[in-house]
Amino acid sequence: MRNVWIILRKELRSYFVSPVAYLLLSMFAVIFGFFFWAQLNGFITYAMEMQMRGQMFPMNINESLIRPLLANVRVTGLFFIPLITMRLFAEEKRTGTIELLATSPISDTEIILGKWLAALTLYGCLLGLTALNFLFLFKYGRPDWKPLVIGYLGLLLEAGAMLAIGTFISTLTRNQIIAGAVTFAACLLLWVFEWVSEFDSATWAQVLSYASVTTHAQSFAKGLLSLKDAVYFVSTIFLGLFLTARSLESLRWRS
């Protein structure tokens, strides 16, 4: 456990000592700031129209503002995940520091867990930024906080799964750009596989659709805590990290 913490701290330091973390955070803040501003204005305009038409019952802020905003966070996150994971192992392989880690009394599992947790922490920071915007809604309105928290939990689980896949892909190359590009392609595919359920219900389509992260993100987005979907994400995380461990091991036999 101590070793995981050592690696985690080192990874976070290299994110936050270099401009990487700040760049990602500020870009994310700007992008989400725009989404928030645009959606909020749309919501206000719509609310006023509704009022003029004489609709009496209040609009649901969770349904018509928070849920689409969380969907925006999810899309933006997809672009940022490869940027977070691409350096994890590719960089160590390129500079040769992987030799230091591999010849220290620390297990591969500890290295992988430390790195993945560091990536998840950075992603958590990105989510934290967006939470700041939502605080304003609580000041001026009365949104329900529970669906919001569950929405965030879903985003974190989904990101954890994709970060684990990204971590695995980063062990396959010493080139960060390749690692990033392949991770993006893989995550995007996992994202859109869900579409096949719309036009086909054959077994292969069902499998493909089940494998998609989007399928499992839906209930969390609606504010429903779904054990089934949580199990999917957790097992994808395990699969990704397991593949990472195997890949690290095979690296030693091949290199």
Binding site: S14, T95, A102, S104
Partner: protein, 328 residues
């Protein structure tokens, strides 16, 4: 301390290390000698548990590198060919990170970091980013990293490559001063380095063990015959190299004379002789003939020549390059 038996590493197409066996005793400095691509790095990587051997076994301090790799890793300090530095870390941060990775406690850590900074003379770059350090400092930080947890065994892969002559000297002195408490294996392709720092030599070539011997024995084997470089000049008039050559050949003990260079009225010969004191006679003979003896020095014996003598294979590298490599 280190025992290697029939260690073999095979890749898909070639065998990098082929049934190597040797033993290193506690407190020794051992030079691991061989041309580039001989399998030095691969062997070291197997000893440090970075690569698993295909066949054979190796034990460090009684622990098997495959079965008890954690125990081995705890007792080994390793400096790979390029020091494994994180450019975005500062020197002290980096040493603390490596120290904690090797399992040092917080109180030990502070003590050891101070100690290795003094020992490796890197105290003046303590707060600098590693990415901004010069090659010499990077190498020394690499060495500091290897000894941070006071390991029983130090494995250094070409610790002096790419350094300037003063840095090379400092690094060798540092390594020598580390012997005694640590058992050290250092790899190199430079023969004088081994002569200066090591007690024992292991020579490998193309993955095979060529010789394992003490340095003085190796020198004797390599210097069965002495080789001298002689530069003869003439003031004023022209010099006839053939004449000089035949005169030198007459000196007793000389077995072979080769003209290496002849210009500006100066001729350089390589003179091979039986072991003994031919230098006095040689000098006298040249001077008595009325020529100037500009230079008389033992020719550097390059690793390739040692190979030539030990293996009987023709050296792959041209002589000039070999000499250059020898004095680098």
């Amino acid at each position: 301390m280190i025992k290697v038996t029939d260690l073999t590493k095979r890749y898909a197409r070639h065998t990098a290390v082929d049934h190597i066996s040797f033993e290193v005793h506690k407190g020794q400095i051992v030079g691991f000698l061989g041309p580039n691509g001989a399998g030095k790095t691969t062997t070291m990587r197997m000893l440090t548990c970075f690569l698993p051997p295909t066949a054979g076994s190796a034990t460090v301090a009684g622990f098997d590198v495959l079965e008890q790799s954690f125990e081995v890793k705890r007792r080994i300090g390793y400096l790979p060919e390029t020091p494994p530095l994180y450019p975005e870390m500062r020197t002290v941060e980096y040493l603390q990170f490596v120290g904690s990775l090797k399992g040092l406690s917080k109180s030990e850590l502070a003590k050891r970091v101070g100690y290795v900074c003094d020992r490796c003379a890197i105290s003046d770059v303590k707060d600098k980013l590693l990415g901004k350090l010069s090659k010499g400092y990077r190498q020394r930080v690499g060495l500091a990293q290897a000894i941070i947890h006071n390991p029983d065994v130090l494995i250094l892969d070409e610790p002096t490559s790419g350094l300037d002559p003063k840095q090379i000297n400092d690094t060798r002195e540092l390594i020598k001063s580390l012997a005694g408490d640590h058992t050290i294996i250092l790899s190199t392709h430079i023969l004088p380095e081994v002569e200066q720092t090591c007690e024992q030599v292991i020579i490998i070539n193309k993955g095979k063990l060529v010789a394992t011997d003490s340095v003085s024995n190796l020198q004797n084997r390599a210097r069965g015959a002495e080789s001298l470089l002689v530069e003869v000049g003439a003031r004023g008039g022209n010099i006839d190299p053939a004449k000089v050559q035949s005169r030198i050949e007459l000196v007793s003990g000389v077995t072979r004379v080769v003209l290496k260079n002849n210009r500006d009225n100066r001729s350089v010969f390589e003179v091979e002789s039986r072991k003994g004191l031919v230098r006095g006679d040689l000098a006298r003979s040249v001077v008595e003939a009325g020529w100037d003896l500009n230079e008389l020095r033992p020719a550097a014996i390059s690793l390739e020549e040692v190979f030539l003598q030990l293996t009987g294979e023709p050296a792959a590298v041209p002589a000039e390059e070999a000499v250059a490599a020898g004095v680098k």
